[in-house]
C-alpha cells in the first residue's frame, strides 16, 4: 500500500507525497512526530495539504485517481493555504456551570481573541485550542501579539486545521 503524507505541488503540478509501506502506521508519538516532520519539511518547499494521519491507498493508480477526481477542490484548498502557516492558541479552559454561562464564556473568549483574528487569514475553533491561518509575513507579529496577550502558542504547523474532507 501507499502512505500519503500530503498533497502539494511539484514544479507547479498537483502532487501527492507518498511512501510505499507494508501497512498503515499506528498512531504513536514517534510515528506522529515523523508524519509532522515530513509534512512540515514539505511545507517549506511549497503549499501543502496534510493528509489525516494513517491515510493509505492501495496503489499508485488510486493515488492518481484521487488527485484527478479531486483536482479542483485540491487546487482551491492549496490556493487558500499558500504562503501561510497555522498557529494554535490555547486559552483558559472554560468550566461553565450552565448553558448560559457557557455561551457568555464563549463570547468573551471570541472578543478577547479579536486582536489575533485581525492578523489571521482564517481561524477555526478546535477541540483544545483555536487554530489560526497566518501569512508567513505576519507570523512574527502574530507570535508577538499572542505573547503579549499571555496566551500559550503552538506552531507554526502545516495547515492541519484548514483542510477539508473529501466526501463522496
Amino acid at each position: 500500500v501507499i502512505y500519503v503524507y500530503a498533497i502539494g505541488e511539484h514544479e507547479g503540478r498537483l502532487t501527492a507525497f507518498v511512501k510505499p509501506v507494508d501497512g498503515a502506521p499506528e498512531p504513536e508519538p514517534e510515528t506522529l512526530l515523523n508524519h509532522d516532520r515530513v509534512v512540515y519539511s514539505l511545507m517549506e518547499r511549497g503549499p501543502v495539504l496534510p493528509m489525516r494521519f494513517g491515510t493509505v491507498l492501495d496503489d499508485e493508480t488510486e493515488v492518481r485517481s484521487l488527485l484527478l477526481s479531486r483536482r479542483k477542490e485540491l487546487r482551491d484548498m492549496l490556493a487558500r493555504v499558500r504562503g501561510r502557516v497555522e498557529f494554535g492558541v490555547r486559552g483558559e479552559q472554560t468550566k461553565a456551570t450552565s448553558g448560559r454561562a457557557y455561551m457568555h464564556a464563549r463570547l468573551d473568549r471570541k472578543r478577547s481573541l479579536a486582536p489575533l483574528a485581525e492578523l489571521a487569514a482564517d481561524s477555526r475553533a478546535r477541540h483544545k485550542d483555536t487554530a489560526y491561518l497566518v501569512d508567513r509575513d505576519l507570523a512574527d507579529a502574530f507570535k508577538e501579539r499572542a505573547r503579549s496577550m499571555k496566551l500559550a502558542l503552538s506552531g507554526p504547523w502545516p495547515p492541519y486545521s484548514f483542510t477539508g474532507a473529501l466526501d463522496d
Binding site: 502506521p25 510515528t31 514539505l42 494521519f53 494513517g54 507554526p156 477539508g164
Partner: protein, 60 residues
C-alpha cells in the same frame, strides 16, 4: 530561505496539539483510512518518493 529557517527554529510543538491535529485534522478521504499495525521506518522517507503529476497524465 532564511525566513522559514527562523520560523522552524522557534517551532513550538506539544504532543497534545500534535495528536489533536494529526488525528483530527488533515485531508480525509471518505472510508479509505486504515489504521493498522506496521513496523516501518518513517524517518527514512525520501522526498523523491513522490508520485508525479497527474496533470501530466491528464493532458497526455
Amino acid at each position: 530561505m532564511s525566513r522559514s529557517d527562523s520560523l522552524a527554529a522557534t517551532r513550538e510543538v506539544t504532543l497534545v496539539d500534535l495528536v489533536d491535529r494529526l488525528l483530527g485534522g488533515g485531508v480525509v478521504i471518505s472510508g479509505d483510512i486504515t489504521l493498522a499495525v506496521a513496523d516501518i521506518d518513517l524517518v527514512q522517507v525520501s522526498l523523491r518518493a513522490l508520485v508525479a503529476s497527474v496533470e501530466k497524465v491528464a493532458s497526455g
